[in-house]
Amino acid sequence: MEALAAVLGDPALAFPLRLSLRIAVATLCLHATLGVALGWALSKRRWPGRSLLDIAVTLPMVFPPIVLGFGLLMLLGRHGLGGWIETGFGAGLIFSEAGVLLASVLVGLPLVVKPVEAAIAALPANLAEAARTLGHGEIPIFARVILPNVAGALGAGLLMATARSLGEVGVTLMLGGNILGRTNTISLEIYNAVTVGEFRRALVLSAALGLFSTLVLIVLRRRAPAP
């Protein structure tokens, strides 16, 4: 009880919590747009580059997060594209919140893309056909006919992706740096507590993350009823 109060009262916790929330919201938006777009593109059979895109989306999952993070660091670090990005945009990814966001989006993305792709492929073809005969182009058809009818799969995908992104540490650690007060998400704080051997702190923080996530998951489940 006392330990709980001590840990939760910790002012150093406010930052990781706010950071995680910010990242979670931004990730959700990016997943919803990117995931839907890629899922739609992949559900169209036979176009050049489809298999390549498919593998590019899924393959990152097979690498241990920390390894993926290391790979991205090499790619986006100053010896890689990083210098170029920094000159172009005036800011780098490494050690920044942008790096944390990139990590979060990347690890969750396939979990949105794949279910959406499968659900679109399973829709009866004549719904889109009917909409075409009603004078609609492909984009309104997608937005108003395809998408609402795969809401169940999209909801499931966003739920999984949000959960996965909340728990991400490996890539975040490498790209963001796990820097106190700058890029340490709540998950990284728990990770740090465990690796330092502060198990009590880890437990209390985990309970807090669990509670917070349960709320997020419940909200996501509500928002996406089966059509």
Binding site: N126, E129, A130, R132, T133, L134, G135, G137
Partner: protein, 235 residues
Amino acid sequence: MPTAAPLDVTLETRLSGPEGPFTLDVGLKAMAGEFLVLTGPSGAGKTTLLRLIAGLARPGRGRVAMAGQVWCDTARGIDLPVRARSLGFVFQDYALFPNMTAAGQIGFALHDLPRRARRDRVAELLDLAGLSGLATAFPAQLSGGQRQRLALVRALARQPKLLLLDEPLSALDPDTRARLQDQLRRLHDLFGATTLMTSHETAEARRLADRVLRLEAGRLGAAPPPPPSLRLVRV
């Protein structure tokens, strides 16, 4: 009163039927505003023909022109997108959107109209289909006949130049059927939309049509006299 120029179709496509593959090979002309009914045995290619004309399927080769506009010409590489063809289509299995209410489906077809005009027109069309009380019902909550009526008014909503109807009346009860037959004919006469409809009902075909055509194993012919089986019917 707008007048529509004629429909001119020449198409050839391979299909596979119960007795093996056959070729759908059709030449078809309709006068401006004509009401054509297409009959023929199940699997003859009636649905396929409508889909080819609408641009929902690509023909092996051929040409489709409507009201002076070439919709498709394989020789010249022309293939107008479906949305650019002024047509309405009623699918044999309705193809209603599971996510839209009855009113929503019709409103979706009327996307060009301003909101207020759209609402009035939706109400008018729902009333025409006898669905006024079910404006907010989703397809899953409608009976079979209600679904088909909804699909019919949805296709009529945009007042297309060409109306393609794949057995639009088959699941209706006699009263509604008679009412919609009359309404269909009236709308057709009013707007002069060229209409191509498939039907199994020879009687209905003769009642509605300016001309009845028979499609058999992929080839067109004039409709024969009513088959003996219908003469047996005790009315």
